[in-house]
Symmetry: C2
Subunit: 407 residues, 2 copies
């Protein structure tokens, strides 16, 4: 993309928000705050979000079918599970003015999670043991009226979520799938560039099971959670469930995913059972599996930045290459334009900084935006290309052929 | 995809809904009604929806930058334009229970359209004539509390929408872009397979302009609108604005897109102007441009089906090929499995009907689901492949090499 044509601008203002990710992502023109916990995605931010979601999608497709459930649901769905009065982030909709009220005064629930939706949906298609197991997932906007929102994209009232739900004929089958989902999640966080810093911590299973749930926690100074490491057993715990008597190494972390055994809580509420091979009705066991793509985006910025700006892993950077042209001489512009086209032909994604701004601003925006490789074409590079990694200090002058080997 | 692994099933029930698209899409397991005007997308339906959205995205990217604005907005945004009390489909959110109310009793508007969001967003980045024109679009879920919903995906309370907004330094610049957008829309409807049946009809510009707006209307017996054709001037009008005194040829049509001149209504409300080349403040002219991908999906089913089921244009079919294996003999299954893998290698998308159901059900599901090509492998095909077009009657026995030339 030519930056001169792209909507959104980096800002020079030194406005500091409540978190590094909110500050850098807004300074770099990736996101824009509408109100606390509610952010617009500008083109550069949407590119990153889309890449994160596509990596998640590719890996989820190996174990589940993608669906798209609705945000609105009837109140009766939430009464069925008795959660209508207990979920403290639950919102409902109603007409916003008198005219709307006169025409249709219906109220709906705005789903903050989808157990209430997916259970009756899957129930429509599952009758016997032959129809199990089932696993479906979606990538979607979720709405939660969190009392406190802070930390930029790390906790929002409107945010992106991948949620998977699985349904099983036996506890054994559930457990096997649950273990498999851990491997899928590990692959996802590896590909997102935070695999090494992300650990599985045991956490409370909540009201529906005596089992632990499992949180994927990225070690991060600015994370909201404290996790405890038991060196003897090589196990991490969320502080909430860490046995008091033991001595732990504690550290801060940010939750990037979680997986939950749900037992038969929801299937029972919906009277959703199946006929087993012996012709008898049997309970269905369920699990839920979440990753927040927008939250992950925030956590990655918290982890990967320096004084100059963000440092994106190649897999989710808005582009692979940031190409700067300096000077307006016809030869220079022609070389830069040709390089831009040639890189695109080679399948490279390029942010081409062809704006009419100072070289200083281009260099500082390249660092702020945080694309893996920076290229410069100017009169001084004399037909060659100046190459620099975002994470390196040295520049080198290379030919086009040499460049292709480097990126 | 192997149908045995895919979530969702075709149903044998003869349940008839209020429209052909709702009936066929639910019978074929593409969508699932949650409540009136609110539908879940199952895997096959989501594949079609995603293909429609990607075609729209590719074409929109030639004229605008993609963003993702939020569904929640503060009430003040809608007060700024005085539309808070006049939009009759406007919904607000509030806490759904007492516990939620105690923790955070904020109310938000659930955006049914995004003029109120995009105007202050673009305002943040536009100061002088050098920053204009701007055009941004998003593809997103919209919420409208329509008094009446019917016709399946053709009119929903929660639906998918592509909305673009453009901002211009002069009326001339706006008009040039507006004309260009018509060409972009024509390319989109061509690629979606309804180009020939889709005409531009003049319609009311609404409260903000004396100009006509332009509706893209697909000629369709079951459409909600009536359009009038003036043979003298070769012009279509929405019936609402058709001059009474003239004699028109009238026909039913379904609106699949619309483009609107907005004048300076919204920019004025937000005190959003720019500094022109002479250093003076000048007004900014705006347009909005919508296409509803889910609505388009419904209209295409209305237009393209027969007694046996849906007939998808290749560009948006859930797959190119529906491969049926008949019989459980090892040789037959091996041939079908190998053909499935080989077609995937060739980049073809395949629905592989490997289910343990009768041949009759496989044939009838192939027609119902409406993929362009049907292949059969059985003992009878004797190492070859039976080929049939969804729209044709004849079958032919072909080798793999011959098949590749046909599809």
């Amino acid at each position: 993309m030519r930056l001169s044509k792209l909507f959104g601008k980096t800002t020079r203002t030194a406005k500091v928000y409540d978190s590094v990710n909110a500050t850098l992502l807004q300074k770099a023109g990736f996101i824009d705050m509408v109100m606390a916990g509610v952010y617009n995605y500008l083109p550069l931010g949407l590119m990153v979000l889309t890449k994160i979601e596509n990596i998640i999608r590719e890996e989820m497709n190996t174990v589940a079918s993608e669906v798209l459930m609705t945000s609105l649901s009837p109140r009766s769905f939430w009464e069925q599970t008795q959660r209508i009065d207990t979920v403290d982030v639950l919102m409902k909709t109603s007409p916003a003015n008198d005219l709307a009220k006169q025409k249709n005064d219906s109220e709906y629930i705005l789903n903050p999670t989808h157990e209430e939706m997916v259970t009756p949906l899957v129930q429509k298609f599952v009758f016997s043991y032959k129809d199990l197991p089932q696993a479906v997932y979606q990538i979607q906007t979720k709405f939660r009226n969190e009392p406190r929102v802070k930390s930029g994209l790390m906790r929002g009232r409107e945010f992106r979520m991948k949620d998977m739900y699985s349904f099983h004929a036996s506890m054994d089958d559930f457990k096997a799938f649950y273990e498999k989902s851990k491997e899928v999640y590990k692959r996802i966080f590896d590909r997102l560039g935070i695999g090494k810093e992300t650990v599985i911590a045991l956490a409370s299973g909540g009201a529906y099971t005596k089992e632990y749930s499992h949180e994927f926690q990225t070690i991060c100074e600015t994370g909201e959670d404290t996790i405890c490491f038991d060196e003897e057993t090589n196990t991490y715990y969320n502080k909430e469930v860490a046995p008091q008597e033991k001595k732990f190494k504690t550290m801060r972390a940010a939750e990037v995913g979680n997986i939950f055994p749900l037992g038969d809580k929801f299937t029972k509420d919906w009277k959703f059972s199946y006929t087993n091979a012996e012709g008898k009705e049997a309970p269905i066991y369920m699990g839920s599996y979440g990753i927040g793509p927008s939250r992950v985006m925030g956590v990655i910025v918290e982890k990967m930045h320096d004084e100059a700006g963000m440092i994106w892993p190649t897999s989710i950077a808005p582009a692979e290459v940031y190409l700067i042209v300096i000077g307006k001489e016809a030869d220079t512009v022609k070389q830069a334009d040709a390089l831009y086209e040639e890189l695109k032909k080679q399948g490279k994604s390029v942010l081409y900084d062809d704006r009419d701004v100072s070289p200083g601003q281009k260099f500082s925006d390249a660092d702020l935006i945080g694309v893996p490789y920076r290229l410069v074409v100017s009169k001084k590079t004399d037909g060659k290309i100046e190459f620099k990694k975002r994470t390196g200090k040295e520049t080198q002058l290379v030919s086009f052929e040499e460049l292709l080997k480097l990126i």
